[in-house]
């Protein structure tokens, strides 16, 4: 431990913050390399079909341009993620609008516009598949004409990238075949005997990450002057996961890893949108660099970025629950489908996180979760903060409120009846060894937000007001780190080295894109080494120089990589104590003296540390059971809304967010990250709608894709419950994605509280509210039954003691 003041838990200045506030930080579009050309991408204008012909109008001097087509690719024509189904450039078949077909580069950026207009591509068009339902229907009926994705070397079935079936049962019973049957039997029995069976359908839309800096890269190619062959490529750019791009380049160029160098530059926001996509734009720019013999920059404009890059997967979740009249969950089935778009990209792992988070922070005596990722002719969906969990947690937390309304219990009571607690097992059979206290979180969140008082107040004032107010809860958790055995497979490595002047330098591939990687990792090193924060340096992420500490995703950097830095720092201290007489405790001067003395007789002082789980992790990929995540962050969010019956606009008027995320490393950064996630969650619920028509995103502009502005957001109150975790440095856990999960269900729960109407589809725009609130007069059933909270048209509620439902139907 340090002998000075603690550094973890304080808020030192962001490492690269000074450059950012000065406007001096260099993002990719701020960089120019000598002799650099500019690149652009010619994309399909149809969603599905074959390229018939490409013509180049003769008025353009085409020999002044570098032109790349699929046949120019020296290696494999693929952008590898989990499988190789995704072409780098379409050779013949087109599977989505804005699919890249050819690449152009020219020294003068303004010359690209006329050239683009002078290229004509004709197609043999085929009818596209644009919804989960159309994709399922083609697969179910074996309709060969509408099978748009056949399967891959890594699995999948026609039109379906991946399926999971996850069963809960007590760990002792989990033998391979028996388990499914045991759980199915238990579910059937519970549905037979339950007081109530409550079903609901919930959908979520696509969401654009909308980082303010669009995707961009600059690539250079080292060409053999004699043969023209590519000897190596270097790509700089805005990205989260430089080693993902290295992997993609090795295939596209048929080069070994050490010949594919990737350097992350200052990155203007990412949120998952720069996790998988840089492999595409990076490969494209490198191909143009190969063809032109010059460095090539590609920076998308906003319209292209929105039309062509990945978004959050749209989803449809059906939940069927057997519950007791006290609100206890007795059994459930959850069926999830997500729209993966045209290629598999990361859909199988997004689906995995969606599946594992679907049961929420609740005990399920018997549960079956089935899920599938379907192919459509929409541009591929990909990573976005939360990675599947916001979709299924939205469904579940809406459903819990539905149970409460149906049973005439409070939303609080139903949650309390079912919360997981320390010692319980999650639905995957993971024992909750570390303390978890959802009851306390709920109690505190309700008190902090004035929930009970306001609920009563709103109920009293709403009948006479044209503005209906309501308050809603969401309780949830988010797993930090890669799922199951994922962290072991990543096998992350970090280096901590001591420079000749005695200052420590961190070498990792973990990238900074606003969330605070640089700062928190330096805090961890400073605290462990008992040195001032300002002494710690962190190296630029250059894959030629830093080890692979894994991708910067999955809420894993603070917890997993931070822990590795802590261990590396302890190794440095041990070395200096054993071999350079570093006293315990030590001062900064002692450290510098010992480090210099060690370096006088050794070539270097460096600790290299690989991932080891803090506790034993058992995970079975086939059964989908075991320890899903090293650690979970737990939260209760409370949203307050006002629904204006003149404008039909729902506005969040206050937001309270309480979370247990282990030890908070940097209160200002952590609070800011939670607030930012909540703002994205509010956008997800109420503002952000991707409008597709025949596979085209019609609103690929900030003008008509609406994200929250400073005038749209309520006061957001962020608080933490700090329970140190053994998994992260100084007791920290991951927080990055957590705040994306809670806002949408809390807000829609509040809207139901305000209006008495259950809305189960997001985004929920004023026109949607208008339609529902005004349609009951013309509704075939007439009357005001729609204002009964237990009745909404998307779902069905059957009391089990109803004589008409003598044999309650268990969903097949």
């Amino acid at each position: 431990m340090p002998n000075g003041d603690p550094i973890i838990g304080t808020s030192p200045l962001r490492k690269e913050g000074r450059a950012k506030v000065l406007g001096a930080a260099q993002y990719i579009d701020d960089l120019t390399l000598p002799g650099m050309w500019h690149g652009t991408t010619i994309r399909s204008t149809i969603a599905r079909g074959r390229i018939r012909n490409i013509t180049f109008a003769p008025h353009i001097h085409w020999h002044d341009y570098a032109i790349v087509r699929a046949h120019d690719i020296p290696g494999e024509n693929t952008i590898v993620h989990l499988t190789k189904d995704h072409p780098c450039l379409a050779a013949s078949e087109i599977n989505h609008v804005a699919e890249p077909i050819l690449l152009l580069a020219h020294p003068d950026k303004s010359a690209l516009l006329a050239a683009r207009a002078a290229i004509t591509i004709t197609y043999d068009e085929l009818p596209g598949i644009f919804t989960i339902e159309a994709s399922e229907s083609a697969a179910d009926s074996n309709d060969a004409a509408n099978i748009i994705w056949l399967g891959s070397s890594e699995g999948g079935t026609p039109n379906c990238f991946k399926q999971y079936a996850m069963y809960s049962s007590k760990p002792a019973e989990s033998d391979a075949l028996g388990e499914a049957n045991t759980t199915e039997d238990a579910i059937a029995a519970a549905f037979e005997q339950a007081d109530h069976i409550i079903e609901g359908d919930y959908t979520t839309g696509a969401q654009e990450q909308l980082y303010i800096e669009p995707n961009g890269v600059i690539a250079e190619c080292d060409l053999d002057p004699a043969t023209g062959h590519v000897r190596g490529v270097t790509v700089r750019g805005s990205m989260q996961c430089p080693f993902y791009l290295v992997h993609a380049l090795t295939l596209v160029f048929n080069l070994p890893e050490e010949k594919c160098r990737v350097i992350q530059v200052e990155t203007g926001g990412a949120f998952g949108g720069k996790e998988d996509f840089p492999s595409v734009i990076g490969s494209h720019a490198a191909l143009l660099a190969m063809k032109s013999g010059h460095p090539v920059k590609i920076v998308y404009d906003r319209g292209e970025d929105m039309a062509a890059t990945t978004k959050r997967h749209p989803s449809r979740t059906r939940i069927c629950t057997a519950v007791s009249r006290e609100g206890k969950l007795l059994a459930g089935t959850i069926d999830i489908a997500i729209d993966g778009g045209a290629y598999a990209t990361l859909s199988p792992v997004v689906l995995s996180r969606a599946t594992i988070h679907a049961p929420g922070p609740y005990k399920w005596p018997a549960l079956r979760v089935r899920s599938k990722a379907m192919a459509t002719n929409i541009p591929p969906h990909g990573a976005f903060r939360g990675f599947g969990a916001p979709q299924t947690l939205f469904a579940l937390e809406r459903h819990i409120d539905k149970i409460a309304h149906t049973l005439n219990l409070s939303p609080e009571e139903v949650r309390r009846q079912n919360f997981l607690a320390t010692g319980d097992h999650t639905a995957t059979g993971q024992p909750l060894v570390e303390p978890v206290d959802m009851h306390h979180l709920l109690t505190r969140a309700l008190a902090d937000s004035g929930y009970h008082h306001k609920r009563a107040l709103f109920a009293a004032s709403n009948p006479t007001s044209q503005i209906k107010r309501g308050i809603g809860i969401a309780a949830f958790m988010h797993g930090a780190g890669f799922t199951g055995s994922g962290e072991r497979r990543l096998n992350s490595l970090v280096h901590l080295e001591i420079l000749p002047d005695g200052r420590p330098q961190i070498l990792v591939s973990s990238t900074e894109f606003g969330q605070g990687t640089n700062t928190i990792l330096c805090q961890v090193a400073a605290q462990t080494l008992a040195l001032p924060y300002d002494d710690i340096l962190i190296h630029e992420v250059d894959t030629a120089l830093v080890p692979n500490s894994g991708p910067t995703v999955a809420s894993r950097t603070a917890m997993i990589v931070g822990k590795l830095i802590e261990r590396a720092a302890n190794e440095i201290l041990t070395t200096l104590r054993d071999q350079a007489a570093l006293p315990t405790p030590h001062t900064r001067a002692d450290f510098l003296t010992a480090a210099k003395s060690y370096l006088a007789s050794h070539p270097q002082l460096r600790a290299s540390v690989r991932y080891e789980p803090a506790t034993k992790i058992h995970w079975d990929d086939d059964l989908y059971r075991g320890d899903a995540y090293p650690g979970f962050a737990w939260a209760v969010y409370v949203a307050e809304v006002a629904v204006d019956l003149d404008t039909y606009q729902a506005t969040v008027t206050r937001f309270d967010a309480l979370q247990e995320v282990g030890k908070v490393l940097h209160p200002i950064l952590a609070t800011g990250q939670i607030e930012g996630g909540i703002a994205q969650g509010i956008g997800y619920a109420l503002y952000e709608k991707c409008v597709y028509q025949d596979g085209h995103l019609m609103n690929n502009q900030m003008t008509n894709y609406i994200m929250p502005t400073s005038a749209d957001l309520p006061a957001i109150h962020v608080t933490f419950e700090e329970v140190p975790s053994p998994h992260g440095p100084g007791g920290a856990k991951g927080i990055g994605e957590l705040p994306m999960d809670g806002p949408a269900p809390a807000i829609l729960n509040a809207i139901e509280d305000a209006t008495g109407i259950a809305f189960n589809n997001i985004p929920l725009l004023p026109e949607d509210i208008f339609e529902r609130l005004t349609s009951f007069t013309t509704h075939p059933h007439g009357g005001t039954e729609d204002l009964d909270p237990s009745i909404d048209r998307d779902t069905r509620v059957e009391p089990a003691d109803d004589p008409l439902t003598e044999s309650p139907k268990v969903p097949a």
Binding site: Y211, E213, G514, S710
Partner: protein
Amino acid sequence: MTQIKFTINNTPATLTVPPMKRLLDVLREDLHLTGTKEGCGEGECGACAILFNGELANSCLIPALQANNATLTTIEGLAPNAAALHPIQQCFLQEGGAQCGICTPGMILATHHLLTQHPNPTDAQIHEGLSGNLCRCTGYMRIFESVKQAALSNSQGSK
């Protein structure tokens, strides 16, 4: 090509540029002032905001011709000596007002403009004053705090 003259960050400049070239590109390409960013190219996000004759303006919507004889301030002009941050920059740094940093130059100039108009802004004036500048990282709360601290340090500085 047109010759235009303006004052940029207190320094006179004369340039020969296409008259309809976006002022954003003139700043970034001709003057190498890359602190002004492009986020949307259609005046929605405010990443390219500068002070144009003292008014907050999106430089992606202004043709170069229109800047003739104008007085312009970009983020580079706020702290002419990078060793000493402008109080607004200092507050954004301390309060966590900058995360990824791409909206920060425009946001800081919007704050500068706001505090010129309203030295002690109300919450509503802050929300309104920054509503032309989009930030996807922060949810704006740390930015509001930065603005309030900057207003406070202004009023303390002038006492």
